[in-house]
Amino acid sequence: MSKNILIIGATSAIARATARIYAQAGGNNLFLVARNKVQLDRNCADLQVRGAASVHTETLDLNQFEQHGPLIDKVFDVMGRVDIVLIAHGTLPDQNECAADVEKTLAELNTNAISIISLLTHLANRMEQQRFGTIAVISSVAGDRGRQSNYIYGAAKGMVSVFMQGLRNRLFKSGVNVLTIKPGFVDTPMTKEFDKGLLWVKPDAIARGIIKAINKRKGEVYLPGFWALIMFIIRSIPEMIFKRLSL
């Protein structure tokens, strides 16, 4: 059955890989939001060639919170109903820069947490009225526990994850599924400076995991799955010990 899919932060490597699978399945309608128009247009053409029934685009810097309301209104005007929402935008800040600069810290929290909560607030009300569909957001394993090497990013993702827990609880009775996606290490432009070892996966593997979790109406998913175990262990370490580790 044909689906209407909204993807916010559509130029992200993970979002792009996910959109491709939905396009290739044939018959789906996509609405893409991102800030880089050239790249957005490129993605739009790509998805059309791959078999999407229709692709709409909207160029927006997602830190313009006042535009979120009009954006979501436009999405529902154009598509009528929305079956799946995927929110994927984000940045990976330099922790040392953040530690030295309050402005930078607040800006990163805006991009990685506040903008998402703003979007979700508008979306949740529409989805609650609609009484079906899935809201999926890419959070991160980094949000499960704060570590000295990236606790601003971690704090933002943690905020998103907790917000999503509450939203899941609220929207359950309306039949709307709320999915928190927690990827581990993914080889994307965001992580291009990192040396890649065994734990790293390609965006396509994450994309397949996201779609599977959406289809199964899961509430939370670690991708790849083994991160559930790693994070269980990390969360279980007593704070007395954890605070001494160089993580």
Partner: protein
């Protein structure tokens, strides 16, 4: 950007390179670089190696498709695998495909790759209608057989030495099903297989596997595979799991006896002199793609693939001489593929000339280079040449003697500001 040890598919040689993986081509700053483009790294030697490498892996978007003409415009990093995944279910196939689908469109153009149908429809670039190239000055230039045709003729088969292929338009081939009607013919020796190639010139696809270790009367003993796209059947993609070679194999596993045993078994697997099968295109075109990292079979030190072509006139005599030399060297080749090539095209450095081409793998050994130098001499003597995309060691003199258009190529490189910006270990070795 990160530094990393990297090699071609043959895993020889290895270089420490700085690799940029731009997410969009606007991010490529060429002015500061002396680098080479790299697609999927399926060239065997050093043509995609340099100390600064620009990977096209993320430049893989499809741009437009014309369902009437079958023309697909896509970014240079798009893989043939991806094209098949999207278009086979809609009834389109690649006009020309090499023996692996894990190559990029940019790489296929830069090597002007050939398939099992070269004798019928030429090479990959004969089905390319236009190219967008990022040249040394940072400008984008379009080229085609009609527009900036000098640049087109140098870029097709030009081993990345004219610029970065940002996008290209290629013509796909309509198919009715994913089934290939395969016919297998047994040839007792080289003479017989040449005769079979001649007699089956009208077949769409043809390729032979030679047992290089057979000698005497059986020299050149082979199986010839002919193929036609079937009109009936479905457009289903093959499902099935791929295997992977997880680590370098101890090289002692691959020796003269194991290879001889393998080749003998392989040859006798087919009993009748002529047999028919219906097979999916996957095993027909890409028999090795289901085993990831099969290059690890040759161990840590890697291997070299030697592929040459001899003109028709030299045919039987030259090929016999080379096979005898290989057979006498007792250096095994796991894969030896013989193919008839059709007429040469206008691209300056494209490999195919009308004749027969043979490709063999050799495990890396200290005395291997000497054997290959000897083979080079026989190839030159008969007016043949060596395939650049497989090469890691031929000399500048051998190259310049066998690719007479190299000077014209250099002029075009200069004209479009490529000389200071695009260089590989191979181009430096060959004096390009």
């Amino acid at each position: 950007m990160s530094n990393q040890l990297i090699s071609g598919w043959g895993r020889y040689p290895v270089v420490d390179a700085e690799i940029a993986v731009p997410a969009r081509f606007e991010n490529i700053d060429l002015t500061a670089l002396n680098s080479i483009a790299r697609g999927m790294g399926r060239s065997y030697g050093d043509s995609a190696l340099a100390t600064q490498i620009i990977s096209t892996q993320q430049l893989d978007n499809l741009i437009a498709f014309n369902g009437q003409s079958g023309e697909l415009r896509c970014a240079g990093g798009t893989t043939l695998e991806e094209i098949l995944k999207v278009f086979v279910p809609r009834g389109w196939f690649l006009s020309v495909t090499p023996g692996t689908k894990f190559v990029s469109v940019g790489g296929a153009i830069a090597s002007d790759v050939h398939g099992k149908n070269h004798h019928k429809i030429g090479s990959f670039c004969d089905h390319v209608t236009s190219i967008e190239l990022l040249i040394g000055s940072g400008e984008m230039v379009s080229c085609s057989p009609q527009q900036n045709s000098d640049l087109f003729r140098a870029t097709c088969g030009g081993m990345g030495l004219t610029g970065i292929i940002v996008s290209a338009t290629i013509k796909l081939l309509p198919i009715q099903s994913t089934t290939i009607r395969q016919q297998t013919l047994k040839a007792a020796n080289l003479k017989e297989v040449f005769q079979l190639f001649e007699a089956n010139r009208s077949a769409t696809y043809s390729v032979a596997w030679i047992d290089c270790l057979a000698s005497g009367n059986a020299l050149g003993r082979s199986l010839l595979y002919l193929g036609e796209h079937d009109e009936s059947g479905t457009l289903d993609m093959q499902s099935g799991h791929s295997k992977s070679i997880p680590f370098d194999m101890p090289t002692t596993l691959l020796n003269r006896f194991t290879i001889q045993a393998f080749n003998t078994l392989y040859y006798h697997k087919v009993c009748e002199t002529v047999s028919q099968q219906q097979v999916h295109y996957e095993p027909y075109f890409y028999p090795l793609d289901s085993i990831h990292h099969w290059n690890r079979l040759y161990g840590r030190r890697g291997f070299l693939q030697y592929q040459f072509v001899l003109p028709k006139t030299a045919g039987l005599e030259g090929m016999t001489k080379i096979l005898q030399r290989i057979s006498a060297s007792k250096k095994g080749s796991f894969l030896a593929v013989l193919k008839e090539l059709g007429a040469q095209n206008k691209n300056l450095l494209s490999f195919p000339i009308e004749g027969y081409t043979l490709a063999l793998d050799f495990k890396w050994e200290p005395d291997l280079l000497q054997l290959l130098n000897e083979l080079d001499q026989i190839v030159l003597e008969y007016g043949g040449r060596i395939y650049l995309t497989k090469d890691a060691r031929m000399s500048e003199a051998t190259f310049k003697q066998s690719y007479p258009s190299w000077e014209q190529f250099m002029e075009i490189r200069h004209k479009y500001g490529a000389t200071e910006h695009f260089n590989s270990l191979q181009s430096e070795r060959l004096g390009l």
